[in-house]
Symmetry: D2
Amino acid sequence: MGMVGGGKDAFIGAIHRIAANMDGLIELSCGALSIHPEIAKESAEMLFLPKDRTYLSYEEMISNESKMPADKRIDFITIVTPNFAHFGPAMMALENGFNVVVEKPMTFTLEEAKALQKKVDETGLQLCLTHTYSGYPMIKQARDMVQSGVLGKPRKIVVEYLQGWLSKLSEREGNKGAAWRTDPSKSGKAGCMGDIGTHAAHLAEYVSGLKITQLCANLNVVVPGRMLDDDGNVLLRFENDVNGVLVASQIAAGEENNLKLKIYGEKGGIEWAQQEPNTLLVKWLDEPAQILRAGSNYPGILSKAAIDNCRTPGGHPEGYLEAFGNIYKNFAHTLMAKLEGKTATKEMLDFPKVDEGVRGMAFIENVVASSQSNEKWINFKV
Amino acid sequence: MGMVGGGKDAFIGAIHRIAANMDGLIELSCGALSIHPEIAKESAEMLFLPKDRTYLSYEEMISNESKMPADKRIDFITIVTPNFAHFGPAMMALENGFNVVVEKPMTFTLEEAKALQKKVDETGLQLCLTHTYSGYPMIKQARDMVQSGVLGKPRKIVVEYLQGWLSKLSEREGNKGAAWRTDPSKSGKAGCMGDIGTHAAHLAEYVSGLKITQLCANLNVVVPGRMLDDDGNVLLRFENDVNGVLVASQIAAGEENNLKLKIYGEKGGIEWAQQEPNTLLVKWLDEPAQILRAGSNYPGILSKAAIDNCRTPGGHPEGYLEAFGNIYKNFAHTLMAKLEGKTATKEMLDFPKVDEGVRGMAFIENVVASSQSNEKWINFKV
Amino acid sequence: MGMVGGGKDAFIGAIHRIAANMDGLIELSCGALSIHPEIAKESAEMLFLPKDRTYLSYEEMISNESKMPADKRIDFITIVTPNFAHFGPAMMALENGFNVVVEKPMTFTLEEAKALQKKVDETGLQLCLTHTYSGYPMIKQARDMVQSGVLGKPRKIVVEYLQGWLSKLSEREGNKGAAWRTDPSKSGKAGCMGDIGTHAAHLAEYVSGLKITQLCANLNVVVPGRMLDDDGNVLLRFENDVNGVLVASQIAAGEENNLKLKIYGEKGGIEWAQQEPNTLLVKWLDEPAQILRAGSNYPGILSKAAIDNCRTPGGHPEGYLEAFGNIYKNFAHTLMAKLEGKTATKEMLDFPKVDEGVRGMAFIENVVASSQSNEKWINFKV
Amino acid sequence: MGMVGGGKDAFIGAIHRIAANMDGLIELSCGALSIHPEIAKESAEMLFLPKDRTYLSYEEMISNESKMPADKRIDFITIVTPNFAHFGPAMMALENGFNVVVEKPMTFTLEEAKALQKKVDETGLQLCLTHTYSGYPMIKQARDMVQSGVLGKPRKIVVEYLQGWLSKLSEREGNKGAAWRTDPSKSGKAGCMGDIGTHAAHLAEYVSGLKITQLCANLNVVVPGRMLDDDGNVLLRFENDVNGVLVASQIAAGEENNLKLKIYGEKGGIEWAQQEPNTLLVKWLDEPAQILRAGSNYPGILSKAAIDNCRTPGGHPEGYLEAFGNIYKNFAHTLMAKLEGKTATKEMLDFPKVDEGVRGMAFIENVVASSQSNEKWINFKV
């Protein structure tokens, strides 16, 4: 693995390294860790990277690595830069035969996303999008229960993603993460909806297996002086006559990272909360609700995917890093299968891909368009 | 107190009697408990009502009682019939000098609601609307915290009211409560939105002290064959630039009576859930969240109203019946003050009134109109 | 009903009145509400008692009432005085043909308890002990599940009752409730163990259906200057080789009224917490835990007693007052059956009785003896 | 790092590797992964260990590694064998200059533990005991709050560790983990008390900073046919007049890994539950309880140790593996400081050590002795 971005003090870069490293399948071999040469070098040193694989730009990295012998060069690059700087290294990597892991939202514009999609289709390479929350075992369980029909035909989806960390104008107070996320030239057309709304929308589609077909959005700039939405509420319509609501906010003072999903079917519903991710509440129409727990031993109840994506037995909580690790683990197994000339299984291929990246960018386009429109419903265009 | 409706087997009538009775201030003295004479008589007997005050119609009851001497006749009537049968007895009671307690939604149409409002204004009598949930002590505490400004200027309101009991076409399977609630000729223009959406909207306005100014609604008939909405999602705009969402559903399979309210201000937020009503979660921007508990002894923290509406010390849970009892208790104290020639205090007057009934009916009108419209936002008209 | 004790400002007297009143079966007809004549009179007036049935002593009350015609005189007396003043009125009531409701612990000494037991046996009158917590519907459900064997043979019982209100020497700071509870001349041999330990022990025996056979107690006076135990831990052995632990404390700072019961059998266990009493958690060896909720509609799952002791449907929380009301309701139905010459059903008779009062007093004797002993286990003597 | 035990299919070995690997500070370089040569080799291959550092016994490993040049040989060995096989490799490692990480309980007997302690003292090497639960950030926070005195003088400690996985005689049904844990020749004098009771006792002492001075134990063999205790309850006395209770069970059917700690002081208390480890509930005598969350930003509230032992911001849950990783991380930093000639800081040295291992073995000795004794209290002897 080679990393683009993620120099010291970058939150998400460190997370990617722990996650990639978790199962002993992936090694960080090189990096272009910062656009500031000094930081790039220092960070590489702290990570024990060899000098000759410490790069000062992604172009240098991809170009150099592509000249190395197959058994020495990296298999994929991981891109953990701000949104506007995803497309360049991703496209160049694909063009040079490298697989890609990239942070969400996948690109800066929908057009870029489609271009990546085209390139992935052409090359047959893998692009993995780190919609971390889909890596949780109980999210897999929820998906498998909803899609298997045990809850009956789905009817309603409520997804809520509430944070409070942008309650003040932190972008003016030296908070770097806040600064680029609220800057349209770095973040893209949307702020909150791009940063966390896309996670919520992805999770709703991932678990339900249903695509959003129409939406009606109300995006808000709540904190005066901010340049992008920091809050929003969206009415949703999904395939198969399922209705829904998506609420996302970064000004919900006192909330940490409160992502909750509820899906109701004819016979029952599921409820999941990211902050206590090892529990899946399953509610039933005329029976007591059940508490399903990751790693537990319930013969015949937990799905294969739920079991495969656990490392510990019930009661030994796994968390965000393990969910992230699952994305990397499945991606790595997919690459390994290819290297060994095998066909990747459905389980290996269970990570978010370029098509989901395109839908994420389309989600941003559509909610922004809807919010600016006087029309009630707009069709979800990709 | 005289009761209209509420014969044996009627759920809400029994609830009203326990609630009214709870604090030893109110006595059931007469009733027109059913339109079926046999049931009316049997029910009255079970409640130990005297024969001469067992009535077969509300007209008979009001007419008879109004002829009794002041110290013997009832002070108010309580109306617990289906929606379409609220207006008649309420108007006749007011016209004959009786105060009124009436179930929500207040009437069948907005016009009826306005007529009652006019009559209340003319007569100076009290009309109390049983929006039970506003009777909970921790709702009073939430209101007092939000409105006092300790959480900063309000920014966002999320209210959710989820039930699952109409997941099937129960109205065709002998469920009487389901039958009239889903019948437009008995329930009114809305089903779910009238039955529980009005509670959610009331609670949001009651706690925030802010009125809904615009909304964008999506009402759904989810169960095939049903005649009224059984589910809906509404984008809200309140006064003072506060945005919000209201979700109400009676097809959320597995949910009981899951009413939740979250309000976020600049500095913190409150979260309350009806099913565990003695707890108010208070979240803060840069401090640990606090768990406020009804009846507890926190010098300087619980508001006077929160304290006054508790009967037991912390850790001795009060519930739905006590919240209901608080509505009656405050109403009774208001009437007693009047009888004693005193001015009712703010605390006594803390029960939902005719104006809130009018807003509730307007809410129904507006969400139905919005749901049928292609316009995004409609102004909340009363 | 006639009440002994419970004048204005007495916490538990007011609770008894609400509870007795809840279901419209019982009326407060007379009272000897205080040993202070002025308070007795004032309190009676506030409760609308007639002057001629406002008594200044229990002796006067019992003597007068027993001379009244059968259709006018009270059916039972309720004793809500401090522990040391239970026996006198209880015995005199029984001797004069009145049934009795009495607060726990039943008496001041075990001898008194046995004397009452003897008198109850002789007279065939009912004595009801207000172990409130056994009135909760989900406690009935727990009992019925444990005793029906669906959880397999019981193996282990953990009961914990934690309060914090005696963390300071409040008895010296004008807290009347604290004053008599910590005074051996009013409370009896034990403080915390008498006040709340007896509740915990009763609940464990009530739900499991198993009697404590041996115990090993460690009682502590944690707050310097206090005269009775304010904290204690007890190892328990029950019939049928079941082991257990009882923890009770009134110096657990920050706890309100935190009574929790866990019972484990071969196949699963139950967990119940008084502060959220409408939920019963049922855990299973190889299946997901279930959340049983009071009032909910699970065909075949909630027991008859659990259903009978609810007033509201699932999601409309009932609380402490309703649990208390259940004790009175079942007691009242038992008396009514007798008056009507019928046999009381098992359901009517489901309230704590004199035998449980004797066991409670024996519990106090035994834990105090054990705590003072160097022997490890002492046999539970009655 | 070289590993002794932990071949494929061994649960705890895999956990150790992920934990050691988590922060990129430690590399698995060699192993004697099984006493079965085939499994040892296969497991080593799966972990990409070089052939020449794949050993068939710990003796071979230690002997070989000690002959390698300082910059190539391992810094420490990790012992993840069953209890009876801890002492041999630990002692040999220390004698050959290697630091040691060892699973708890530290040894098979107290004598062995003392011998290791002596050797550690002589050599100045580090021995790290993996009492994982002390690695959680909110446990550090609890410790720092209790020991700093903000909760007032400690008064009472309640620790409970409930599992259900030994509810059946699983040791006879092919469960290897059950087999050695219930076999006195492999596990030692105690079963449940050694396996999880020691964790509970360690956590109580670690957080309170107080040592157990006396105890009164009741160990039970609940499942017929089992050779060691599978359940137990212990009354505790700590230094400074603090009383406590420890409950441990492996037959609490339906429990996963339910470790809970409550400590009460004069002014407030803490409550922590391992299954939701990112939350610390802090209760106060006359103020609302607070919810402290790992990783959150509360200026001045979270302690340095709580912050240092987090990798993610609030709301991104960390779990068991991260707590385990913290033990390894602090241990690694301690070794690195030494290598660099620096003095390890208090924060680096925050991992369980040989003295705690000795106390753990003494705990086993003492509870077993107490359980067999008729004396009530026995002094905690080391």
